[in-house]
């Protein structure tokens, strides 16, 4: 990898910084406390499908493994249990084993915000208002142009995941939530199913047949209620099949992911053990499980909703760029 400077991006960069300031302004005006958090941690929340960066603290003959945080969640949940209230982190997060692409950098800027005593539907409204506010700040209007298309930020499409599968893939609700029927449907559609799980094929079909069309009708799309297995950190819905998670998209670009946070410590504990096993099975870096995070839940995580937003992606869409690297003055690639 090489260090590259991009002096040409200076004017875009200036607008990107104005966008970040607008986000801070919106959140602080609405009572969210900005959190300054570490990015190095001795333990992490295990995530089965995500690789981390490992480093080491050294002093004299003492050595201790540290890991760059793939998300600030482990810190914020502790603080929520301590009663910090509505809050957000806007800063770096790190994900390994994914190559640089127009939509991804291993080191990226994440906005993670939490609202207590509310659920994901409330957060959906916050996101809408925040994007409208930031567009007005940087463009002076509540619409943007991206991919040669005008995107109206005052009108949002709302779909459930089941509705989206029906609409774009012709997969019925019954087929979607029944593993055998879903695998059969995938096979009929020509997907290779041998040796692949429901989760593998679900993601493949979602990425191939649904995602590219989300948010492409001149306004953003919010997709609600993912199958429980794709929303392990969120509160289950009463239908027993889905959980309270939403994502939002503009022109097929995923910009954020929200949960009504899971507050059940036992369930969380079990989930972490499963994820830890998944990591071990796939030969990922063996980092300690952050037990303090589960203890925080036991202490009592207030009912809350949290969202993670890719800030560079929002910048790319808001400023009509081809790649998130177009926002950067320096890149490592």
């Amino acid at each position: 990898m090489k260090i590259q400077t991009h002096g040409d991006n200076l004017s875009t960069y200036t607008k990107y910084i104005a966008l970040i300031q607008a986000i801070h302004e919106y959140l602080q005006t609405n009572g969210y406390l900005q959190l300054d958090l570490p990015v190095l941690s001795p333990a992490l929340i295990p995530e089965g499908y995500l690789e981390v960066f490992e480093t080491e603290f050294r002093y004299m003959n003492r050595k201790e493994k540290l890991y760059l945080t793939p998300s600030p969640e482990l810190f914020i949940k502790r603080l929520l249990a301590e009663g910090v209230g509505d809050c957000y982190y806007l800063g770096k997060s790190f994900r390994n084993s994914e190559p640089n692409s127009p939509k991804h950098l291993p080191e990226f800027t994440m906005l993670e915000m939490y609202k207590v005593r509310e659920n994901y539907r409330y957060m959906a409204q916050v996101v809408r208002k925040m994007l409208e506010f930031t567009a007005k700040k940087i463009h002076g209007k509540d619409s943007i142009t991206y991919n040669g298309k005008k995107i109206d930020l005052t009108r949002w499409e709302e779909l459930t995941v089941a509705e989206a599968f029906e609409k774009y893939s012709g997969v019925s609700t019954e087929e979607l939530f029944d593993t055998n029927k879903f695998l059969k449907k995938a096979e009929e559609k020509g997907y290779r199913t041998e040796g692949f799980t429901y989760e593998d094929l679900w993601s493949q079909m979602y990425t191939q047949e649904i995602e590219p069309y989300l948010g492409t009708d001149g306004h953003p799309t919010m997709l609600f209620d993912y199958p429980v297995c794709f929303a392990a950190l969120s509160t289950p819905n009463t239908d027993g099949k889905t959980a309270q998670r939403f994502e939002f998209y503009i022109e097929g670009v995923e910009l954020g992911n929200c949960y009504s946070e899971l507050t059940d410590a036992d369930l969380q504990d079990k989930r972490l053990a499963d994820e830890y096993e998944e990591r071990k099975k796939s030969g990922k870096i063996d980092h300690p499980i952050d037990k303090g995070f589960v203890d925080a839940l036991r202490k009592g995580l207030p009912v809350s909703t949290g969202i993670a937003i890719g800030v560079e992606r929002v910048g790319m869409v808001m400023l009509d760029l081809v790649s998130i690297e177009d926002l950067k003055l320096i890149t490592i690639s």
Binding site: Y49, S101, Q208
Partner: protein, 190 residues
Amino acid sequence: MAVQAGNLKKGEFIMYQSDIWQVQKTEFYSPGKGAALMRTKIKNVSSGKTVDYTFKSNEFIETIEVNSIEMQYLYKDAENAIFMDQQSYNQYEVPLEMVGEIIQFFKEGEVMYVYVHDEKPLSVRPPASVTLKIIQTDSAARGDTVGNAKKEAEVETGAKVMVPLFIKQGEIITINPETGEYTGRASQGS
């Protein structure tokens, strides 16, 4: 040879649904649950049709061995670009859809590499750079000379490129044929 989809690279040829396809674009994508994915754009070498297909990154894909053979570009007709093998003097027709947009930068007589599989030409390996003469461009307009101001220029193959204001008619420039971007001055020309 079978490779995992996560290792596919732009330009490679694969066997998919009993047809040969050339990989045009790849994007690794981790959905956070389940296998990571490889989003691709692939082009069917028989029909020229391009489709988007998302593979699971750990899925094995059959890649096709191709030879790159040095050939001279002779001319094009309505459907094909015609090349001649420098050693055997055999002529090969490569469908224009497979050559793609880069053909606008090919000068007759230039030597480049053609991908051949089982005696069938599949596509052309894009040269890293082409050197072409400017046959038409306005002399620099006064005024906007700060920053990265560009003007349109026509090169000898008839293609249009954006060049810096200081470039004059008759100069020889280098172009990246894949992006169509001006990359530098080859000489002062005449």
